[in-house]
Point group: C2
Chain length 154, copies 2
């Protein structure tokens, strides 16, 4: 069998596994209980008030069915409000609450530290190169997953 270390799929999973562990550890240490996708959703909603779930899903490249549950839990935690859209009665408009904004501000240093920590084995130049190569591979494969990135907000 081919060595796992020669399988990009294995390396991708492993790197992401560590990234998630580092994220949760830093966030937990800072006194918060927020997952990576919950953070990404919260930040995107703050930057795009009133965004609907489908557009949000496209912005952070998550499946719509996953976003339903994520938003459920953020609403449960009083970090988000979900209300019916007036323009399109199928859609749900998402708005961050004051508590959501406070949480986002307070948690950001831990998130930044986590991003730094997950690359701690690399020099700054290597870290930049890793990110460039991941971006390039991702761009080429964007349409291959069910949840591609969609850059448009409208």
């Amino acid at each position: 069998m081919r060595d796992n270390n020669e399988m990009p799929g294995h390396l991708a999973r492993r790197f992401q596994q560590i990234a998630v562990a580092v994220f949760l550890a830093e966030v937990s240490e800072a006194g918060f209980d927020l997952t990576p996708v919950q953070y990404a959703a919260l930040a995107s909603i703050k930057a795009n008030p009133g965004i609907d779930q489908a557009t949000l899903a496209g912005l952070i490249a998550y499946d719509r069915t996953t976003i339903t549950g994520v938003v459920d839990r953020l609403v449960q935690k009083n970090l988000l409000e979900r209300r019916a859209s007036s323009r399109d009665r199928r859609a749900r408009e998402l708005e961050i609450t004051d508590e959501g904004k406070r949480t986002l501000r307070a948690i950001t240093p831990a998130v930044e530290e986590a991003q730094r920590l997950m690359l701690r084995g690399l020099s700054p130049k290597e870290a930049a190169e890793l990110m460039r190569l991941m971006r390039k591979a991702i761009a080429a494969g964007n349409e291959l997953s069910r949840a591609p990135l969609r850059e448009t907000t409208g």
Copy 2:
């Protein structure tokens, strides 16, 4: 907010998301129903007959509790046998079945093609560099997840 494209955690998740989608698509097209972890487990057990679950988990860097379910499903599909160890009555020895060997052989080209496809946006040199950098980052963060890689078979 920092751009998602500047967050290594986001890029890691996205790359892995595409890697899994490509893997499942290729394997499905080849007529099989096997997930990445199921493939990794099957291949490791073939290479290490009679391995116990904890050692297997260490070899492919999965959590023990995840491996329990994975092995359950592989046994269900008649690709594995799980039996009590004679040396250590806590342990379960894992053995690949003939059908498991046939499946592994038949599925390998699809798996190789998936590994190639998930890097299709990169030149060979870039692909090699991406893998080197992921390996380096992973090595530095190995102990940060609950399921670190353990290279020993004994």
